[in-house]
Structure formats: structure tokens, C-alpha cells
């Protein structure tokens, strides 16, 4: 079996596929890529199915040694990637020859990179998914590991490379996002939104919030003008992807892929799917603005996205 040896693993590098579905009623989190857009392009560039396992690298600063010739692609954050010291372009497929080293520097713009290999990383599946959810101790290189990738790990690659004469693929410039430290997110109002006063909503929509460094894949914690509420809690209910909840300090938390399945804080609604992909590339310290989105329009945009990547 061919593989990619991890020489340095960076801050947090996790194996992810589209996630673990149909298990939330057991208390398990979905997992999956925080930035679905960059994940899908990484696979698309190699003609992989969207569910193929890739490596989600947070903040860059990783390096790998190819144990065989491996066709791969890199999307997401701009990390100044180099092969044996020579800069390479991202958002395209490339060949890493046996013995060559791929090195990603610290992310200059964006937060998460997606490294895919042709055929996908050969990681075991549990409940149909290899997605790493650290807090559930599931996924990754071992079935019940849930562990981030470490130095010395070998990422097994399903498919050995054969030169079939096909040219490399690249993502059209139009589809490559410009990541920024200031992001506007569309909010679909729902859940307890009717219990937030006009003034509370005014505070929420008119002021920027800063991403706290206590954020993780479970939730993005924000700091800014507190949103005053009369409601202190609700009876615990299922939490949808992107839910925006308010603990009693009035500081919003946006719940992501590794979120808990049930929760009892009041929620104003959900960040739209398309906006969540942008949020995944905003690093701690970035400024977030919220605006009121329209559920029909957001659904249409997400369906178009799903159709494009055959999700």
C-alpha cells in the first residue's frame, strides 16, 4: 500500500469525509469538513467522490513525505505550499513523487486547508464514516481513535499512481474565494427568534463580533456587544448545524460540525450553509457581521451547491 508519511502535523490535522449521519439520536456528533466548499473541490480535482476522506489542516505548518508517487490536490487556506522547496499553486491537482516532501507554511489567509489524494485516504469507517470527532473518540486512522494526525503517522492511499496521460486539473478562478478577516454571515431566523426583542436583534445585527480563540470545531465563540434577553433557557432540544445560541452572558456561539446534539440555550436561528463555509475560513480575531437571510433563497443556493458536487 502506498502512503504519505507525516513529518510534522501542525496545530490540528484531522481526517474528514462528509460526516457521520443517522447517529445523532445516540448522542454522536456529525463531524465532517468545516469548509464543505474547499473539501469538495479538493476531491473534485482528483475525480474522487465528495465523500472521499481528506485531511483538514488547521492553520497550516505541516509537512509530508511521499512513500510512493501520489496524485494529490490542495485547497482552502493559502499556506505557501512547497514541494522540495519549490512553491506550488493551490486549488489544483499535482503529483508528489516518491521521496519528495510537501511542506505547508503558516496560513497567510484563511484558516483551514484540505489535502486530498487520488482515491481518497484509506481510513477505516465507523457508522459509514471516517470523520474524526475528537470528543466522541471516533474516526481518524483507527476506528475508535478520534485522534488528530501525529508526526510519524502514515496516511494510507487507496490508489497507486499510474501515468494515464491525463492533464492536471485546476479550479476556475471564479470559484476560488478570497478569504478575509471580516466576514458577513446570513442568518435564517428560527427557533426562539420571536423571543428576542427588537432591541436585542438590533444589537445583534448592527454590531460586529470578534471570533474568540476559545473557538473550536464544536462551536465558534464570539465576543461583542452582549445581546440582552429575557429568556434564560429553553427545554433541551435538537441543535441544527449553524445554530446561534446565547448563554446568559449574551455572547453568541455558532455551533459547528462537532456540536452537541441537544442544548437548552435560546437560539436566534441558524447561519446559512453557504455562510458556514466562509466562517470556517475565518480565524480567531476575525470580525463577524450578521444579516437577515431568506430561507428560500438560502435553500436554493445550497441545493445548487449540492447539485454541483453531486452531494
Amino acid at each position: 500500500m502506498s502512503g504519505l508519511q507525516v513529518m510534522s502535523s501542525g496545530m490540528l490535522s484531522l481526517i474528514q469525509d462528509l460526516g457521520r449521519y443517522g447517529v445523532a439520536h445516540h448522542g454522536l456528533s456529525t463531524g465532517g469538513p468545516a469548509d464543505l466548499h474547499a473539501h469538495c473541490w479538493a476531491n473534485q480535482l482528483l475525480d474522487n467522490p465528495s465523500n472521499a476522506s481528506v485531511l483538514e489542516i488547521t492553520m497550516g505548518n505541516v509537512s509530508f513525505l511521499a512513500l510512493d508517487d501520489i496524485l494529490m490536490s490542495l485547497t482552502g487556506a493559502d499556506t505557501n505550499p512547497q514541494v522540495d522547496g519549490e512553491p506550488i499553486a493551490t486549488w489544483r491537482s499535482f503529483l508528489l513523487r516518491k521521496g519528495q516532501t510537501l511542506k505547508l507554511g503558516y496560513a497567510k489567509t484563511g484558516f483551514r486547508s484540505y489535502l486530498a489524494v487520488a482515491g481518497g485516504i484509506d481510513a477505516p469507517k465507523v457508522f459509514g464514516s471516517s470523520a474524526t470527532v475528537v470528543r466522541n473518540q471516533l474516526g481518524g486512522l483507527g476506528v475508535q481513535s478520534g485522534r488528530a494526525i501525529q508526526k510519524g503517522d502514515i496516511l494510507p492511499v487507496c490508489k497507486t499512481y499510474t501515468n494515464d496521460g491525463k492533464p492536471f486539473n485546476w479550479v476556475p478562478r471564479l470559484f476560488i474565494p478570497k478569504y478575509s478577516d471580516e466576514v458577513s454571515l446570513s442568518v435564517i431566523e428560527s427557533y426562539q427568534s420571536h423571543s428576542f426583542s427588537r432591541q436585542a436583534k438590533q444589537t445583534f445585527y448592527a454590531n460586529p463580533y470578534q471570533i474568540s480563540d476559545k473557538s473550536d470545531r464544536m462551536g465558534i465563540r464570539l465576543q461583542g456587544n452582549p445581546v440582552q434577553m429575557d429568556l434564560s433557557g429553553v427545554i433541551s432540544e435538537g441543535i441544527a448545524y449553524g445554530s446561534i445560541q446565547f448563554p446568559s452572558n449574551g455572547q453568541p456561539i455558532i455551533l459547528l460540525n462537532d456540536r452537541q446534539t441537544l442544548g437548552g440555550y435560546p437560539k436566534i436561528g441558524c447561519v446559512s450553509r453557504m455562510s458556514l463555509m466562509k466562517l470556517a475560513q475565518a480565524r480567531p480575531g476575525s470580525l463577524i457581521h450578521f444579516y437577515r437571510g431568506d430561507i428560500e433563497r438560502e435553500t436554493e443556493a445550497y441545493c445548487e451547491f449540492m447539485n454541483f458536487f453531486s452531494l
Binding site: 449521519y21 443517522g22 445523532a24 439520536h25 445516540h26 448522542g27 454522536l28 456529525t30 465507523v126 457508522f127 466522541n136 471516533l138 476506528v143 475508535q144 435564517i188 428560527s190 427557533y191 427545554i235 433541551s236 432540544e237 435538537g238 441543535i239 441544527a240 448545524y241 449553524g242 445554530s243 452537541q260 446534539t261 441537544l262 436561528g269 441558524c270 446559512s272 450553509r273 430561507i295 438560502e298 435553500t299 445550497y302 441545493c303 449540492m306 447539485n307 452531494l311
Partner: protein, 229 residues
């Protein structure tokens, strides 16, 4: 009973069956949850029941959301107001070793409530509980409701470590911790039975709506069953 079906995102609906905790409601939600799972198998990917609600996550490309909403409204109304409840619920009995050596809060709870330790054990183990929701951690079941005489708030500061198998009380709820985790519930015993095992089928011995009983056991039996002191 008035049921409300609301869209919460591009891919999810929440159904509010009521606005206060009521064990009968939980059985109705469990019945509805089973029905939805069977009927829409390939169109929905998560069904998450809780005390008064059911969250449904669906594939927007496979579902006409207006139609799904209307159908859920109709079916939920029917189940909310029918006399026939889920017939699939079962009763599971768990052995529990109630002793201070595995239960750091047992003695305190007894003295706080001016009861003997034996009385606390009796009050906790003589009831039948309903699985109201599963969440927080894999296999963690919220069981309702405990006798008011032993209902007690969580610790103000959660413990960093609660042992696997710990049986705790938080307000009117009780639960068994399936894994070691941080937690704030008051611990009154330990159950040596594995509650969440991804290699067994089913992975968990219960579903929402099922009934749970606790059976006090001796130290000897606890150790026999694999308990750790």
C-alpha cells in the same frame, strides 16, 4: 394539544409537541419519531427527539419541504391526540451499587434531605423511569423523573472527572454516565453495565420512550459484573 412544525434551517424542521416536560409527551414523540424514520428513511438523515420536540434533518434535494411540513403537521397532530401509544417500548433493569466508595455524593444528599442512605437508595430504586432524551455524550440518557424527596440541583462547579458508570441526579432527572467525562450531577451509585458499545447491536440498551429500573446490588455482585471500586 397543539403541535407546531417550524423550519429552522435549509435542511431541518423542528416539531414542538408542547412547552412543558410531561412523560406522556415523551412516549408520543418516541412513537412519532419511529413513524417518521420508517416512512422517510431515504429522505431524512437525522431524527433527534427530546423532551418536547423532534428535530428532523432532511435532504433538501429529495424533499418538497412544504409537503413534508404539512405531512408532519397532520401525522403529529394525530399522534399527539390519539390514545394509542408506541407499542415498541421496553423496560430495561440496571444493577446499581449504591455505596459511598463509588458514590461521592450519596452521604451528603442523605443528610441534606434528612434521610438515611437506605431511604435514598429505596426512593431512587423503587421507581420506573422514562428515557426522555439521549444526548450530551454518546449513550447518555436523561431519565425522568426522580422522587421529589431526592431531587437535587447540580454541583455549582462541575467535577472534572465523573467515573464511568456513575449514577447521578440533577433536579428531577437521573442518568448513568456511559463514559468517564466531566460532569456536574450528584453521584449516588455506580452501574457496572456497558451502556454504549459501537461493536454491539444495538449499541445502546434503550431508546427514547423506553422504561428503566434500577436494582440495588451488593459489593460482591458489583465486582462480579466488572464494577471497579
Amino acid at each position: 394539544m397543539k403541535v407546531e412544525v417550524c423550519r429552522v434551517s435549509e435542511t431541518s424542521l423542528i416539531i414542538y409537541f408542547g412547552h412543558s416536560i410531561d412523560l406522556e409527551l415523551i412516549e408520543r414523540i418516541a412513537a412519532f419519531s419511529q413513524m417518521v424514520q420508517e416512512r422517510y428513511q431515504d429522505k431524512i438523515y437525522e431524527v433527534i427527539p427530546s423532551y418536547t420536540t423532534l428535530l428532523i434533518e432532511y435532504y433538501p434535494l429529495k424533499v418538497d419541504v412544504q409537503e413534508l411540513t404539512q405531512r408532519c403537521q397532520r401525522e403529529a397532530d394525530k399522534i399527539a391526540n390519539s390514545d394509542i401509544l408506541s407499542s415498541k417500548q421496553k423496560t430495561v433493569t440496571f444493577p446499581v451499587y449504591y455505596h459511598p466508595e463509588v458514590a461521592p455524593d450519596l452521604q451528603n444528599l442523605a443528610s441534606e434531605k434528612q434521610l438515611s442512605v437506605e431511604q435514598v437508595i429505596q426512593l431512587h430504586s423503587q421507581r420506573e423511569y422514562t428515557v426522555c432524551a439521549i444526548g450530551f455524550a454518546p449513550g447518555f440518557a436523561f431519565l425522568g423523573t426522580v422522587d421529589a424527596q431526592i431531587a437535587t440541583p447540580r454541583h455549582a462547579e462541575p467535577r472534572l472527572k465523573v467515573a464511568k458508570g456513575s449514577v447521578g441526579i440533577a433536579d428531577q432527572q437521573t442518568a448513568i454516565y456511559p463514559q468517564e467525562t466531566p460532569g456536574g450531577w450528584k453521584i449516588i451509585g455506580n452501574c457496572p453495565v456497558e451502556l454504549f458499545n459501537i461493536n454491539s447491536e444495538p449499541m445502546m440498551p434503550f431508546d427514547v420512550g423506553d422504561k428503566v429500573r434500577f436494582e440495588p446490588i451488593s459489593r460482591e455482585k458489583f465486582l462480579d459484573l466488572g464494577g471497579v471500586v
